[in-house]
Symmetry: D2
Subunit: 342 residues, 4 copies
């Protein structure tokens, strides 16, 4: 890999970060670096079987540990960090999900949001077998004997940089800095654009999911530790107000807020902004086009902010290379890395 | 068509309905009837060019005219109406969209909802060419010369029955009776299940769209009059709390409410209910499974209630024929109709 | 009472209305008429003791019966109905409240709104002694022996006219036509302004409360049948977009919507509109003044739409008589009525 | 003042804090200390006349400077800090308010929340004369010549401690740690209870308002620098999940969240919790009592989280001294301080 700098990092338990912002960097890297990292699962690896109830084995706030932050040389407020996911691979042969009392879309939550006086739902663990040969995870009902193998579709729920305004935000929170967006779109092959708020950007990630439905309804996906390869690049002098994603077929904007319509509105207004700034469409023309061709897969309806993704197929857009062709360039770098690695 | 009753109906302008409920039926039909109907577009056919601004040519509340209602013999509260869409075909060679002052997801709305003191967005019309040979509609930017042909994907924004509790609801409103849900899933090949609230059910439909993005962001899709063929059937003694849909690959539940998370919650709780009632899954097992495999395409984020669709692939579910195999039966009837018609 | 027309009306059980709109008038009255009416409680009079659980004694949708509608001669769309409450007096020596499964602010609700998978709260009745001599109602805890006499402050939860757009709305719903707003401000001494949507306006009322806290948290106030005297007047040629109230000290605007901030926004934008139309303030000046002196008692956070009241003391405003001095005139009429009646 | 420790502190400009958490303490104080502090206004003192538009004179995020944090000896997670306001006095003879583009309840906001495509409202400053002799502030319309003297009612919009979970939150944000709640109830005579999350609690305050309406609709009150005297005390071993207030007549719970109904729910559930923990009422009995006697003045509908206050008159409650009589004790200390100071 002649033109590539490759950095490998596996955090020790005492090196996890629990916030974006307010934490010292674990490594300094240069733009263009290939990062080979390991991320622990959202349970801190403590849920290994059906008796490991979350309320028993996890002490709040030590949930959703992050790998990072990485200080990116030259990154400054007003720039955009481009994070390309080369591969995301479960590192164990099991994964876990659960209900957690007063957490999730279909329960009152407390004490911070939809507080009610009702009793919580039953707390329960679902263990999944990870079959890397067939690239499946197997769901097994807890009552009755229904089983089904589901296609694996690994992703990172949590990716972000240090926030603006001197804030430090819990790894459970998604917002303009990224964070716990929990969108299935954060899979291998995607480039994620994050606006830089502080010197060095301070990139962190974690919360691997073997797969996840849209909305992450019960609040917990098929959680797994991950071996992940990403390329971190920098676009100087171009800002990004909310996290954006690009893959070979789509450009996508995210929004994270409550109520859920505000997450939708943010992602749509950001997509309109992207189309006016980089694709030459007038704002109402962009609004009209998105109305007819936009897709809008909801990401999470369970976290402190809800997240929406608004996306549009590139083939319906003027033929422009967003962010100066960053995605295509990182795709090539990824191919070179894979070729060299094999 | 030996076993099929076919009824053809094209409303005269004075026969349109503007509400679900509170209107006399235009026809009485038997369960199993094939209905060949024509529906006017949401503009009442008055937007024919870029100068036909909605605020100029349409007098509120004469917007979104409905074809119907149809009285279905034998339908009674507690039953379910099954409406299978055989075909939906634009009946003109143009379609139209627009911005409408204080209506849509990306503007303050008034006076009934997100009221603000800001000026409205510019009011503008986009005309679309309908090419039935290539099955496309062509978008043309209003500023600049960007044009693109988009695949046609015709659907009905508005399908429903008379509501419960003696209410009559505007054709602009989606709720438990169906109505203006504006989901792209209401396309040919789908069976829509609607809970019956009054004797005869009183089915109406309208608001054809040549295509629509998820969320229908500006509030107006590619609006068109439609020639539509549907089969109307009845499932006795089985209730349906919120409109459900089924196609060959998916079952889907809808929810309509504000804020948007409540629309999501309703559709998810309904899907959990469907899986426990007809598929034999325990409630938390259903919740867990949906969390990992559910898809949740938002329908509209612009109408008086917002609408979500929650769906799951049948291949991930226990092998059960929902509603006693109604969808498969109506698929066969539709095939027989098409064979006879050609 | 030489200049006064007095109409007395007590509905028979089969004469109750359950909707605003879609119902024939029970009486025709002239503007200026004094109406002496009786209204049944929201339970239809069926909750008389702690064992009369709502889910047992009430059959949905026969809840919240209305007295009316009254056809007001000369009332036409674009006019405003002015309803002045002269007196509201509990007609029995008891009143009742309850929890109702999946209804209220501090529980998931279903199936129409904040749907969750949790169990409902316990269903329970609280009976209140009504002491008209001391003008109190007595609360008695259901567990333990805590008792406290509370000041009586009688009001009508539900007051409204037929809605626009050919709709008929359940008596449980508040919206632009009024309806189930559940604000404690609807007490004797207030004038309520309602925009007329149909010929005759079709005024109905019900849902008397001996008292109610702001938000009506559990969804059920101290419910009572009422003997109520009101004066119904008409302001020709002046529209009212959302229900407004006026008493000797305040003008008030209401808004009903979900989420709750939209109810707040509607009431605030309406109050700004009122100040610009009738008080000569420019819109941003009105916005600024309300920001510093506005009071905003939440009405209900439990009904299908939530309701806010935004109010401002007249003494902080330019000295103008709203609606041409209607409130002062009706106050004089009420005084004359009381003098003649005693 | 024999038994009283009095600490006087006036921050230098470089000593302001812009977050709760993530900042070093400026002083260490003992429980029971009387603090005499000065707080700058939310504009950092830069708005002195009608031409000092916020977008021109303030550089984000240097808005809403805080005085503090104060490290309270012995304060540890699980304790409650009791902050009693002895006096709040405007320190200048003017105060200011403004509209701020895309901020406030009656505008789309951006980019973080209710994002729309509309133009912002006009940006404008309103200067208020502060008359300490008559204890009024004078409003002057910006268009036309309407003027009115308004009663002064000084309060602090922002009071809080360091948050939990290693977070640092902007001084603009209200949440469980307190912060920018913007409730007019935070006036002299009130005791504010704050749950301690970190060693020393780290109390900060700022954002003085000469007065403010409920909802703080345009987002900016009558902003002023303040000379404030407070007594800081500690209740060991008693937790407080959300900020609570107590004055001579009321106990009050706060909630801060979006949508606004969640802020209401949090404050109501907290009040139910307070009544069950300290007043001996069973939960549903508390829910019922609050439903009938609760008051719920909305605090802000403009900040990143909206804030509600739910309150109940002590005279309707069992005769209990909350928090072991802390409020009465601090009232006596305040009286002693005032006697000694005069």
């Amino acid at each position: 890999m002649p033109d590539m700098e490759v950095v490998t990092y596996r955090p020790k338990p005492q090196e996890y970060a629990w916030t974006f912002g307010g934490v010292r960097p674990v490594r300094t890297i240069r733009p263009g670096t290939v990062l080979q990292v390991w991320t622990e699962d959202a349970f801190g690896g403590r849920v290994r079987g059906p008796d490991d109830l979350v309320s028993r084995v996890i002490e709040f706030p030590f949930v959703n540990p992050l790998t990072g932050p990485f200080y990116v040389e030259g990154a400054a407020p007003g720039d955009t960090l481009a994070v390309h996911f080369v591969s995301i691979t479960p590192s164990r042969d099991y994964a876990a999900s659960s209900t957690i009392p007063f957490f999730g879309a279909l329960t009152g939550t407390g004490p911070g949001h939809t507080a009610t006086l009702q009793d919580p739902l039953d707390e329960r663990i679902w263990m999944y077998e990870v079959d890397k040969a067939n690239w499946t995870v197997t769901y097994q009902a807890s009552r009755g004997d229904y089983r089904v193998a589901l296609p694996m579709d690994p992703m990172h729920g949590t990716v972000g940089v240090a926030p603006a305004a001197f804030e430090a935000r819990s790894s459970l929170v998604p917002d303009a800095h990224g964070g716990n967006m929990d969108t299935p779109e954060m899979r291998a092959g995607v480039t994620c654009y994050l606006g830089v708020n502080v010197e060095g950007a301070l990139l962190s990630l974690g919360d691997g999911h073997c797969r996840q439905g849209e909305g992450e309804s019960c609040g917990v996906a098929v959680e797994a530790a991950m071996d992940t390869v990403l390329i971190v690049d920098l676009v100087k002098g171009v800002g990004t107000p909310w996290p954006r994603l690009e893959n070979d077929d789509y450009i996508m904007s995210t929004g994270s807020a409550r109520p859920l319509e505000d997450a939708f509105r943010i992602s749509q207004v950001d997509l309109v902004g992207w189309l006016t700034e980089q694709y030459g469409l007038e704002a109402l023309d962009a609004y009209q086009l998105i109305t007819q061709v936009g897709e809008a897969p909801v990401a999470n309806v369970c976290d402190p902010n809800y997240t929406f993704v608004s996306k549009v197929r590139k083939r319906y857009l003027p033929q422009v290379a967003a962010y100066g062709g960053t995605h295509a360039r990182l795709r090539e770098l990824a191919a070179a890395y894979r070729a060299a690695a094999s």
